[in-house]
């Protein structure tokens, strides 16, 4: 298996190198691909890791001797509205009181880099390029406004923490590895609970604390099989689904009474 992936990486290098020739001249160019553009999640799915690999293509206008590249990969899953609620003790019991709405935030979010974000760029650049979970824009409804809040806001940090615990938000500053000064790879872990939909992958190349170039790619997560069929049926044909479930219940009850009949 490892041999196959390595083969694939080398084949990619050759193919990508060939593809790179026709592009207009810029100092650097990123060429990337993920190992699978369509991840099918079956009932047996228990988490998988996609591999993203790519290379930095230089051309004549590249400053000579520049090899100290930094790379940040951001994977953004389908967006959704979420509510974070906070429990408080009222009348002796813990009940949901305060809440905050997060508007169209990623259901999956992963940030990978080859070294810590603050070593890659200045705090200002980190903020502007949304490097790290603390700098990613998570829009909240604050009264009538829509805005992000400071990273140490109680609701925001609780939200990020809970998503991280589920494996759906990730930040790893050593996940990107440079195989050669210009060839890199990183793994994108996809836990069993990954939401289905289109995932956007943003790859940003930095050198000397500045963004040099960026490129995007994407992959899809689709669920197939019986379980997805059931979920779709439940949503779209509630009545038929309900009738079927009720019928199933009656059959199960009847069969049991036949099988276990004593007299």
């Amino acid at each position: 298996m490892s041999g196959r992936v390595l083969c694939a990486v080398f084949a990619a290098m050759i193919a990508l190198g060939a593809a790179g020739i026709a592009q207009p001249a810029r100092a650097e160019r990123l060429i990337v691909s993920v190992s699978n553009h369509r991840v099918t999640v079956t009932p047996a799915y228990s988490g998988e890791e996609l591999v993203l690999f790519g290379s930095v293509e230089k051309d004549a206008s590249t400053p000579p001797g520049r090899n100290n590249y930094d790379l940040v990969v951001t994977v953004i899953g389908p967006r959704a509205d979420m509510v974070t609620r906070r429990k408080e003790r009222k009348f002796g019991i813990w009940i949901n009181t305060d809440y905050r709405e997060f508007i169209q935030v990623p259901t999956y979010l992963a940030l990978f880099s080859n070294r810590p974000f603050d070593a890659i760029a200045s705090p200002d650049v980190e903020r502007r390029q949304q490097l790290g979970l603390n700098n990613v824009l998570l829009t909240q409804r604050v009264g009538t406004d829509y805005a992000d809040v400071v990273p140490n806001d109680a609701f925001r940090s609780a939200f990020v923490r809970l998503r991280r615990e589920q494996g759906l938000y990730r930040e790893e500053t050593s996940a990107v590895t440079f195989l050669t000064p210009t060839l890199f790879r990183t793994g994108i872990p996809l836990p069993a609970a990954v939401p289905i939909g289109t995932y956007k992958v943003e790859i940003k190349l930095f050198a000397d604390g500045a963004l040099i170039t960026r490129t995007d790619t994407a992959f899809d997560i689709v669920k197939v099989g019986f379980e997805q069929f059931v979920a779709t049926a439940a949503r779209q044909d509630g009545l038929v689904y309900g009738l079927f479930t009720a019928f199933m219940a009656l059959m199960a009850g009847w069969m049991a009474s036949v099988v276990f009949r004593k007299d």
Partner: protein, 338 residues
């Protein structure tokens, strides 16, 4: 990006894929069952065992078992709303097999069941409507937990006390009096009286419909058949004899739960058929063995045990509400994706 086509990794990485940096979690691959509506993977044997255990208890006491099944599912991490809706169909299955058995023994009063059902179906519809409303307010989980605490501790405490008292009476050599008909009652002064032949009682239909309504209502909200409340009410309040009480209450449970399954499926799309099927398989099997075990235990012992069990579940819920939760924050997706 022309070269991509042949670069794709194989669709289904085998176990050997680990070496190439593809992490596969071996411990979670075999017995996991993915629940499509609950949206979480669960251990299939755990759910089967839970179904069987609850089925055994329900068969033993002649109850649907929902008041145990729903909390257990909530305790293992299934959303309370999905648990409530899915358990409805599980109870339908177990009460159907129970009802067939009681029907063969002629231990069902059809007339009484029919009158109970008049109230029961209306109550169920009201219950599902309230359920939907609470869910949109974000307080459904709390209300489910609170209802469990109130109902279970009250009913469990009363049953335990009653069982204890009658047991003591037996021990002292006194006759066990169920204080049958004629002892008192405004219930018996109500109009629209009807003769229920098989139960040998003469009773107004008003309290019967009322009881059906209440049971249907709380059953739909809490994911319980309501047998464990219905049976005592019918014995102590309506003076239905013990010979027909369990069979008749099972008919009410059966019909209200089939109806609740339908309504939950249509309005909230929260019925997990896969979960329900696994629960049923375990549940109906367990119920058969439980029914046999139940016949060997004396009535007051049975009540004492059941009271203890109900009380324990109620206290567990109360404990959850009172202690400081591990995490004060929760996230719920409100829509927008897919």
């Amino acid at each position: 990006m022309q070269g991509c086509g042949f670069l794709r990794a194989p669709k289904k990485p085998g176990p050997g894929a680990v070496s190439a940096g593809l992490t596969v979690h071996p411990e979670t691959t075999r017995v996991q069952l993915y629940l499509p509506i609950a949206d979480i993977p669960v251990n299939i044997f755990l759910i089967l065992a839970m179904g069987a255990a609850v089925g055994f208890v329900s068969g033993m006491f002649g109850i649907g078992g929902g008041f145990l099944m729903t909390p257990l599912l909530i305790f293992i991490g299934i959303a309370p709303s999905v648990a409530v809706a899915s358990v409805a169909s599980h109870i339908a299955a177990s009460s159907f097999s129970g009802a067939i058995t009681y029907w063969r023994r002629r231990a069902i009063d059809p007339a009484l069941a029919l009158v109970l059902l008049c109230g029961g179906t209306i109550g169920t519809a009201l219950g599902v409507w309230t359920f939907t409303l609470l869910r949109s307010l974000g307080q459904l989980d709390l209300m489910i937990a609170l209802s469990y605490v109130v109902l279970l501790t009250t009913v469990g405490g009363l049953m335990f006390w009653e069982g204890l008292r009658s047991m003591l009476r037996v021990r002292r050599g006194m006759a066990v009096s169920l204080r049958r008909s004629g002892s008192h009652g405004w219930v018996h002064g109500l109009p629209f009286k009807m003769r229920f032949k098989r139960s040998k009682i003469y009773l107004s239909v008003i309290p019967v419909i009322g009881v059906g309504l209440i049971i249907g209502f709380i059953g739909a909200i809490m994911g319980i058949g309501g047998g464990f409340i219905l049976v005592p009410i019918m014995i102590y309040f309506l003076r239905v004899p013990t010979s027909t009480v369990i069979g008749t209450s099972m008919v009410l449970t059966l019909v209200t739960m089939v109806f609740a399954t339908l309504l939950h499926a249509i309005t909230n799309h929260l019925v997990d058929a896969v979960l329900a099927l696994v629960l049923m398989t375990g549940g109906v099997t367990g119920a058969q063995f439980g029914a046999r075990a139940g016949q060997k235990i004396r009535g007051e012992h049975l009540r004492l045990l059941l009271g203890l069990l109900i009380l324990a579940v109620g206290i567990r819920f109360a404990y959850e509400l009172v202690i400081r939760p591990d995490d004060l924050f929760t996230i719920r997706q409100t829509g927008g994706a897919v």
